[in-house]
Symmetry: C2
């Protein structure tokens, strides 16, 4: 099964951009009237018939829709400081999408070595991972923002967790997730050089709960993935 | 903190190979009588004094030993069919080491596309990951073997789980781990094309419990990492 990504033109029609059209027509060799599956990233799977098998501008007629296809029963925002090595951060985006993520928020910490982050490549990576893992909802990639801004804007009705390395009393991420009835979860992971004192103070003031991730010393991207796995595990 | 990898010559002395000696002397610029940390991969951390700062053949005198340094309280063997894309399998080795793994067994399934696997690179990868994550025990990388051979040889006193994609009643990996009192765990993950019927039958006959990993469609390497995370999570 393959899912193609397009934009809804109206309730009955979905159109594909040049790259996806090429893939449908030239690579997968679909002809007019072929049955195909498509999504627009919102979580709905469309069963379609290919209307125009144009390798530059294909479109399809929607036969039926399945909402919530490949989605999960939690709402997870992972806020992570991009790693120095970009490949590691992109790997996190791919894997987190495969498992089940709603929003990826790249965060610039006061001690982040990487102060600039462009989200275009990550958008393509999570789209590709969603298609590969047959999920009709594509995670939202937010524009980069400072940790302080993210903390201040975080909604009060979510379970908000922060993983920092300060010596301080913490509960495990597992326990924090088990204790909370909230299905709306925000997890904040710091940069390689950790958060600043000001950032941690601001997070505590705004209702973030400090959590640890066990005895292993995890890299930023591994900690991020462990957070996603922990949420997925709770809802299994 | 940096840990160097060497071989014990006797109870008091550890020697380093040419590559590690170069790293100690030329890259880290250690001099004779410097305090350094070393390990031989068995799980013991050695606090040492550098005896000979020779960039080809360094050695150190052991001052004190800390057994079980950076280790965990379970014994996990992950048996996985190497992925077609080698980088994905190597990534799994790195991440699994970071979290906590004892043995990685590359398995050749009857439907594996990759029938040959060389373990040299993986040995270097897990060594490097162990050093990076400050673990004094390096996972053992077994020589590749067929799934059937691995299944037949698996010890009877371990909790043995198999993740396959056959439509069959399964419990979640989380539930299987929670139910079992055994700290010796073996998890078998199939190739991209799944196990053969013969392999699954043989596994069931040998006491393997079929498990699922939730609703997400995970790639082989993601399934492998989720297995390691699940065990780590149980012991948190």
């Amino acid at each position: 099964m393959e899912i193609f990504f397009g934009q809804l033109v109206n309730a009955d029609t979905i159109k594909f951009d040049a790259q996806e059209s090429l893939h449908i027509v030239k690579v997968m060799r679909h002809k007019e009237n072929d049955h195909i599956y498509a999504m627009d990233g919102s979580g709905v799977l469309f069963e379609c018939i290919l209307l125009t098998a144009n390798s530059n501008n294909a479109s399809a007629h929607i036969l039926s829709s399945t909402p919530g296809w490949g989605t999960h029963n939690y709402d997870l925002t992972l806020a992570v400081c991009p790693t120095k090595n970009n490949e590691r951060f992109e790997w996190l985006g791919e894997k987190a999408t495969e498992i089940g993520l709603d929003t990826l928020a790249p965060i610039i910490g006061e001690k982040s070595e990487r102060k600039v982050y462009k989200i275009d490549r990550m958008k393509r990576i999570v789209l590709s991972a969603a298609k590969q893992s047959l999920k009709a909802k594509i995670p939202t990639i937010e524009e980069p923002q400072s940790a302080i801004d993210f903390i201040k804007k975080a909604p009060s009705d979510a379970l908000k967790l922060i993983a920092h390395c300060f010596e301080e009393e913490k509960i495990s991420i597992k326990e924090a997730l088990e204790k909370s009835p909230s299905d709306k979860i925000i997890i904040l992971i710091g940069p390689e050089g950790d958060f600043s004192t000001r950032e941690v103070d601001e997070a505590l003031k705004n209702g973030f709960i400090p959590v640890h991730m066990g005895n292993s010393r995890l890299r930023t991207e591994t900690a991020g993935l462990y957070a996603v796995f922990s949420v997925y595990n709770k809802y299994m």
